[in-house]
Each structure stands twice: as structure tokens, then as C-alpha cells.
Amino acid sequence: MSRLKDLQKNLFGGTTSNARQFGMIFTLVAIVVLFQILTDGLTLRSDNLIALFQQNSYILILAIGMLMVIVAGHIDLSVGSVAAFAGILVAKSMTEWDLPWPAAIVFGLAIGAAIGAWQGFWVAYIGVPAFIVTLAGMLLFRGGNQFIGNASTVPVPEGFREIGSGFLPEFGPNTGYNNATLLLGLAAALAVVWREIQARKTRRAMDADPAPMWISILRMAIMVGVIAFAALRFASGRVGTSFPISGIILLVLVIAYSFYTRNTAGGRHIYAVGGNSRAAELSGVKLKRVNFFVMMNMSVLAALAGMIFVARSAASGPQDGNGWELDAIAAVFIGGAAVAGGIGTISGSIVGGLVMAVLNNGLQLMGVGTDRVQIIKGLVLLLAVAIDVYNKSQGRFSIIGSLMRPFRRDDSAPPASPPDAEREPAKAAVSG
């Protein structure tokens, strides 16, 4: 019993958004297992996993930026159009102006920054709601893409395609696996162990008891196991395929932005602005600068996503990025962010995006048409958020939390003072 309590406290305890995230990870695992069974093992096959990552890396990159925008209390509807606009300009720059592809990538990011500065200016300095600014941007840059490309497709050269369809190189002894992918897996496993050790150290420095050793070990074992499984799968695909380059880009961005949002003053300011902008302002946070930054950053990431997509499909077209904004926004909300801002994490949004991606992929493998896939995705988004809102209104924090409730009778720590707590104007959060 006490072990169960430990497990529950350490895995599901803490903040509500943590609990929500663990809930999402379980949902993800459940969906993967479900489709693995329904598709007779197709879901977890190497080539399918690789395709899954390649097809969704750009949505997940958008989800990173979107998370920050939503946490700051805004929304960005223009990302699909911005991606298409940057994509067509980059394609043109290489085919018509003969820009070498590395320079073209820098050029693409600069376009993103310029568009972001434009949208950020209206949102932060003029005070036009982001919904309106980016709705305008959605039309503006979609039109811009079709104007520049004459509504036709523009192909891109070989070298550039690597960022969308390339893989880690083959080298070293013939192990029957892709060695680079194996090394990446090893590095990831070491990082997980190192992080757990660091976390224990930090807990001790805060005079708090770290989680029991066996929990730490269990947690590490699960993570390392998942990493090893994934590394072997990615390394054992068709010859010439392995972990995709776009996946590497995504990984780097996830790590960098997670660090930024969690561990830097700049990141914390975003949460402060979204949580209570007036309080943040009176604490010395430069409101306009934060709002400008999140909007600009979003467009830079949208430009990057657009380039990866163009590279993968080998050409830029007039319909690129249609509906991406909705996928990215769905990923963020499934991942536990609050509509009113102030709550949400990068990792949660990535998990949310993966849930949608696996769902999409699994249904397609089963031969379900896009019409029904859309219906199912819509219902999943609604249900995921509705269950959480319902649980919150019942005073429970998560499904898992409520399942574990019978075991926590003797746990008397929370709520300190319910009468006062309940008087608070509870943030109308979508999250738990």
C-alpha cells in the first residue's frame, strides 16, 4: 500500500498540469497499444515510425511556438500561411536566384522573423488582439504565397531536401543497425539517467526528501527502455533510412525551448504575462517585449516548419500548410494548456501532438477515410479537454488522480483552507 502511495505521489502528484501530462502519456501509450493490435503490428514497424516522425515533425515544431503563444494568452492562426509563404520564397530563392541551400535556410528564417516582427508589432505595441492580427496574417500570407508562386508549385534542389527527408548517415562497423541512431539512443539514455540524478540532488538541496530510490530507478528503467526500443526500431529500418533529420531538428528545439520556458527569466515572464498581465507588469516584466517575442518566435518556427515540409515534398505549393494552425492548437490544448493562458508545457504539447499524430496514422493504416479521421480527431480533442474540465469542476485534478483517490485517505496535506481557496476566481482554464 505504501509503495502504491509513493508511486502515485511521485508520478501523479505535484501540480495539476503534471498530473494532466502523465494522464496524456498514458493516453498516448494506450493509443499506441490499441493501434498496434488493431493494425496487426503495423504501427510500431520501423518504416511506419519513421514516416510518422517525418510527417509530423513540422506540426510538432509549430506546437512548440504555439504553446508559448497560448501561455502568454494569445493565439496564432497564421502559422500555416506563414509556413507556405516562407516555403515559396525559399524555393524561389534557390531555383531562380541560385541561392545555395544553407543560405536559403537562413533567408527563410529571416523571412519568418520579419513576418513575426510585423505581427508582433500589431499585437504588442498597437494592442490589436492576436486573434485578429493573425487572422489577417492568415489571409495575407496565403495570398502572398499564391501571388509569388502564381498558384503553382516550385521544386527545390537535392541538398535542401535533406532537412525534410534526410536521415542520420551510415558509418562504422556493420552491426545490422544504423550506428548513428544507436549512438543517439545511447546519448539520450545517459541524459535521462543524468537528469534523474540531478533532480535528486536538487530535491536534497531543497531539504526535501527525494522520491524513494526504487521509484527513481523504475522511472529511469521505463524511460531507458522506451528509448532503447525506439532507437532499435529507428536503426533497423530499410537500408538508407534511420532517424530522420527533421526529427533531430525537432529534438533540439524541444530541448532548447523546454529549457528556455522552464529555467530562464525570459521563459518565466511568458507564464507571468499569461497568468496575470497586470501583476506581471507591476513586477517589472516588460509586457510589450514579451508579447512581441512570442509572436515573432512563432513565425520563425512557422517558417522553419514550412521549409521542412517543402523539403520533404520536394516542392513548394499553393496549398502548403493548410489547416496546420488547427493541428498545432489542438496539440497544445490536448497537452494541458489553459485557454486563458499561464498554464502549459512544451513536453505536454509534444505529447498532445503525438496523440493526434498516432491517431491519424493508425486510422489511416486501418484504411479509415479522411472524412471519418477528421470526425474522430474532432471528438478526441473535445473529449480530452471536456473530461479535464469536468474533473476540475468536481474538484478532482485528473482522471488518474481520481482513480487513485481511494488510496489516499491518510494523506491529509491538501487543501490548506478550502473556504478561502474556493472564493478565488478560478481561472477559466481548459487544463486540469
Binding site: T15, A279, E281
Partner: protein
């Protein structure tokens, strides 16, 4: 009074939340036509008890019995209790700012004629109800265009629209100035003479002493006692003793000020209203603060004290027009809040929930929020230093919370205020501006906050206290400025400060003799 019929009896009410027993075996007897006050520190269970009574916590979620008008009542929701004539007016007013007085009064209860709202009847009935509460306004006036005192009257008019028999007021005067408070209390007396029963929750003991017939005191979720004000000769000290369970010899800690030289000075400060530029909110105001000194700012609501403080604090209010700030002999220009913080200013706002704290944060994030640079190296936050800083302030200020990971939204008002104070102490300010630092805080926590303010002054900091409670200013401050309509009208030393002298200068434009 025992011959008067009992209107309401709550018998051994027990209400549990997961992990916490908010009420245990609470009894309350209210007789018809009396004003019954409920006193207790924050977290004593006052609000919970009222929520049980009004059906917010429906029958079945608590143990015990409610006998109302002679029969047992089992309210399933607020509507059920309202139908029975029990109306509760919360501390945070539930009015829609963009709607008119009449629309608010009849919200959810609109008079209809053939399915459509009958505005003629509504306005006529609204005027009638407004007359009963002494509110002289056009019923078409929008809520946002009237002061908070009048808004309170609209709430009461709204209660009358529902044919109230038992009116419950939760901290009705917390946000009101003295004049509005007095009007409200007179109104309650008027209701009493017309046989309407009121239950009033308040921290303002002088008001309770003045108006209540019976006082029930709660402590830690239990009934301590019920006092008959006239028969028992109850005074404030008697109430305090019941609330805290011990004698509180003085409302203010003993303190010998150690006042140094003038180090902060504002000269000829002029600020205009942010929207209507023709309105001047600060009219050529000048003041000084000495090291180790607690300086009070007295004034009626709307006198422009908060506006003055916020405009000095990095121009966070209004449109700056002219004026100079001199600190330690040098002129400083504070164009933003960040400038103000860097120059050693701190401003603790009057509304900690709306603009003082991010209620999504926990204690440790809140504590360091105004000076993240202090716990970061090369832009990277150090979690351990953050924790240690928050923990040391939690211990120093005796904030009641299991850990600094607790969400600030779960803390009581007094403890939230301590977190806000910690947040600004963490910035190492030279001058702290505290705007209504004890609003909505119970007696025990107030005493602690006063102690903290005095300690800050003793460290050589200057402290400005803005307060609407004159006894607080007189008890705490070494020197008091009075403000009226955006101008400083007087400067009074502690020895000369009485409520009468302050009130006189707070309400007259004539500048009295200054030193």
C-alpha cells in the same frame, strides 16, 4: 431578546473537505429582525457556514440541520435558498459592469410581458427599489460609472427584488470609504426597524460593535460563543478575545522609531488621467520620506492616493506630466516599473488578487517574481536558490503553508499578503509603498503585518502606508499626509493625529499649516 421568534437555526453543522474539517458542530441561532454578526479570523469557517446556509453546498454534502421559519430546510442550490428569501451578498460584487443599474437589479429575474422584457416596468420597479436603499441615480446608468459604494447598494436593491427575508452580507464595507460605510450601516439599521433580518460578516470590529445585536464567534471551524451586545456589554476587545482565544493587549506592536534623514523626495508631481486627459489626478503634490520612517497617506476613496503611488512607481498609472523624484540627493527618472525596482522602490498594490499576485503561481515563484535576476546566473534560474529564498521568507514572515510549493490561490488573505510582502522584500527596496496592506485581513494577521512593517522601517528603509482605516494610520505611522482630490492638503505628526483632525483635512481643499 429570547421572546423574539427564532427565524433561523443551524444545528451542529459539520462540513468536511478532503483532508480538512472546515466546520465542526457549528450552531447558529438568528432571531427575527436582528442584525447578527459573525466574527472570526480568516479560515475560521465564516464563509463556509454561509455557503452551507445559502445552498452553495447543497443539502447532503454537510451534516447537521437547518431550521428556517420553523421547518427544516434542505436547499439544493442557491436558487432554492433565494426562493425562501435568503439572499447572500458576496464580498466580490456580482454585478456586470457594462450593464445598467436596472438591468443588473433584475438580472435573471426580469419582469416580462408576453415573453419580452418589460423595460418600463423594470425601470419603475428599479426606481422603487433604489429608493428603499437610498440610491439616487438614473436606473439607466452603467454599473462601471458608479462608485463601489453605490454598487454595493445596487446589490442590496437586487436582493430586495427577490423579496428578501434574511440578508447575508459578507464583508460589506471592506471596499467602502468611511462615508459610504456609514450610509450602509444606517441602511441596515433601517432594515432592522422594518423587520428584515441581517447576518453580517465583517472584520471591522468597530462597526460590529456599533450595529450588531448578537455576535456569534467562530474559531477553527467551531462556535466559540454567541454574545448579546447590549446585555453582555460587548466591546471590541471582548470580540478580539473570542476570535483569537487570548487577550490581544494592543492592536499595534510596541515600536520606537529610529528616524534618519530625508532620502526620498517627490516634488511638484503632476499626472493626468490615462483616458480623460483633462482630468488631473495628481495636482502638484510634494512629499518627503526619511529613512526608518513610516509615512501614512490618508484620504477618502478616490482622493488619488493609489494613483500618486503608482505614478511614482515607474509611471504605472496615468499620463506623466511633470515632477521630479530625488533619492539620496540625486534626481532619478523612473520611466518603467523595471526602473523603479532597480532604483530600490517597491509597490504592494491594494488589490493583491487582481494585480498583486499571479494566482496560478506557487509561493516560491511568487516570492522571486519581481527580481528574477537575483536567483539567476547568465539568465538561467537556479531552482535551489529560489527555494531557499522563498523558504527563508516563509519562516521569517511566518506564512502559514505546508511548503513553498503551495499555490498562492489556496492561502488565506493574510498569508497571501505575506507572500506579496516577501516578493517585494526580496527586491531589497529602500522605499516600500504599501497600498491598503491589511485590507480583508483578520486581526491576528494584521498585528503580524504591522510588526513586519516596523521591522522594515527599523532596517533603515522608508515605508509609505496608504490606508482607509484611520486608526491604522494613527497607530502605525510616524507622520501622515492627507490627500483630497489629487492634492496633498496636510501633514500631521503622529502626536497630533486624531481621527477628527485627519478627517477634517481629508475633506477640505484648504491647505492647513504645514511644518
Amino acid at each position: 431578546m429570547s421572546d423574539v421568534p427564532i427565524l433561523l437555526e443551524m444545528r451542529s453543522i459539520t462540513k468536511e473537505f478532503p483532508g480538512v474539517k472546515a466546520l465542526s458542530d457549528v450552531n447558529l441561532v438568528v432571531r427575527a429582525g436582528e442584525i447578527h454578526a459573525i466574527c472570526g479570523e480568516n479560515g475560521a469557517g465564516k464563509s463556509t457556514l454561509m455557503k452551507v446556509l445559502s445552498g452553495v453546498y447543497p443539502h447532503g454534502t454537510y451534516d447537521g440541520k437547518i431550521v428556517y421559519q420553523g421547518s427544516e430546510s434542505k436547499f439544493s442550490d442557491i436558487r432554492a435558498s433565494e426562493n425562501a428569501g435568503i439572499v447572500i451578498i458576496h464580498q466580490e460584487l456580482a454585478l456586470i459592469p457594462g450593464m445598467s443599474i436596472a438591468e443588473n437589479i433584475f438580472l435573471g429575474n426580469e419582469p416580462r410581458k408576453r415573453g419580452a422584457i418589460d423595460w418600463k416596468a423594470a425601470n419603475r420597479m428599479a426606481l422603487d427599489l433604489m429608493a428603499r436603499v437610498g440610491l439616487e441615480e438614473d436606473p439607466d446608468t452603467l454599473i462601471k460609472d458608479i462608485g463601489v459604494g453605490k454598487q454595493q447598494l445596487v446589490e442590496i436593491a437586487k436582493a430586495f427584488a427577490k423579496d428578501v427575508k434574511l440578508l447575508i452580507l459578507d464583508e460589506p464595507t471592506a471596499a467602502l470609504n468611511e462615508a459610504d460605510s456609514k450610509h450602509l450601516l444606517d441602511l441596515l439599521r433601517g432594515f432592522r426597524s422594518r423587520g428584515i433580518t441581517s447576518i453580517m460578516i465583517s472584520h471591522k470590529l468597530n462597526e460590529i460593535e456599533a450595529i450588531a445585536d448578537q455576535i456569534t464567534i467562530l474559531r477553527d471551524g467551531r462556535t466559540v460563543e454567541t454574545l448579546d451586545v447590549k446585555a453582555d456589554g460587548v466591546d471590541e476587545d471582548r470580540i478580539v478575545r473570542g476570535m483569537v482565544g487570548r487577550e490581544l493587549s494592543s492592536r499595534f506592536p510596541d515600536h520606537t522609531p529610529k528616524i534618519g534623514d530625508v532620502f526620498f523626495e517627490v516634488r511638484n508631481w503632476n499626472v493626468r488621467h490615462p483616458i480623460s486627459a483633462e482630468r488631473q489626478v495628481c495636482k502638484n503634490e510634494s512629499f518627503v520620506v526619511r529613512r526608518g520612517e513610516i509615512v501614512g497617506f490618508a484620504g477618502l476613496m478616490g482622493a488619488g492616493r493609489t494613483e500618486l503611488a503608482m505614478s511614482v512607481f515607474g509611471r504605472s498609472y496615468g499620463v506623466f506630466e511633470s515632477g521630479t523624484i530625488i533619492k539620496d540627493g540625486k534626481e532619478i527618472v523612473l520611466k518603467s516599473v523595471a526602473d523603479a525596482i532597480d532604483n530600490g522602490l517597491a509597490y504592494v498594490s491594494e488589490d493583491r488578487k487582481a494585480i498583486g499576485l499571479n494566482l496560478l503561481d506557487d509561493i516560491k515563484t511568487s516570492t522571486v517574481a519581481a527580481k528574477l535576476s537575483k536567483i539567476s546566473h547568465h539568465g538561467v534560474l537556479n531552482e535551489v536558490e529560489e527555494y531557499q529564498a522563498a523558504e527563508s521568507y516563509r519562516k521569517e514572515l511566518r506564512t502559514k503553508a505546508p511548503t513553498v510549493d503551495e499555490s498562492v490561490s489556496k492561502l488565506s488573505g493574510g498569508n497571501q499578503q505575506k507572500v506579496v510582502l516577501a516578493k517585494w522584500m526580496f527586491t531589497d527596496p529602500d522605499l516600500l509603498i504599501l497600498d491598503e496592506p491589511t485590507r480583508g485581513i483578520d486581526v491576528g494577521a494584521k498585528y503580524e503585518i504591522y510588526g513586519i512593517i516596523q521591522r522594515l522601517a527599523d532596517q533603515g528603509k522608508g515605508v509609505i502606508v496608504i490606508s482607509s482605516e484611520l486608526p491604522e494610520l494613527i497607530g502605525l505611522c510616524d507622520r501622515i499626509y492627507t490627500v483630497f482630490e489629487g492634492a496633498i492638503t496636510g501633514e500631521i505628526a503622529r502626536a497630533d493625529a486624531t481621527p477628527e483632525t485627519l478627517m477634517k483635512q481629508m475633506t477640505s481643499t484648504k491647505k492647513m499649516a504645514t511644518r
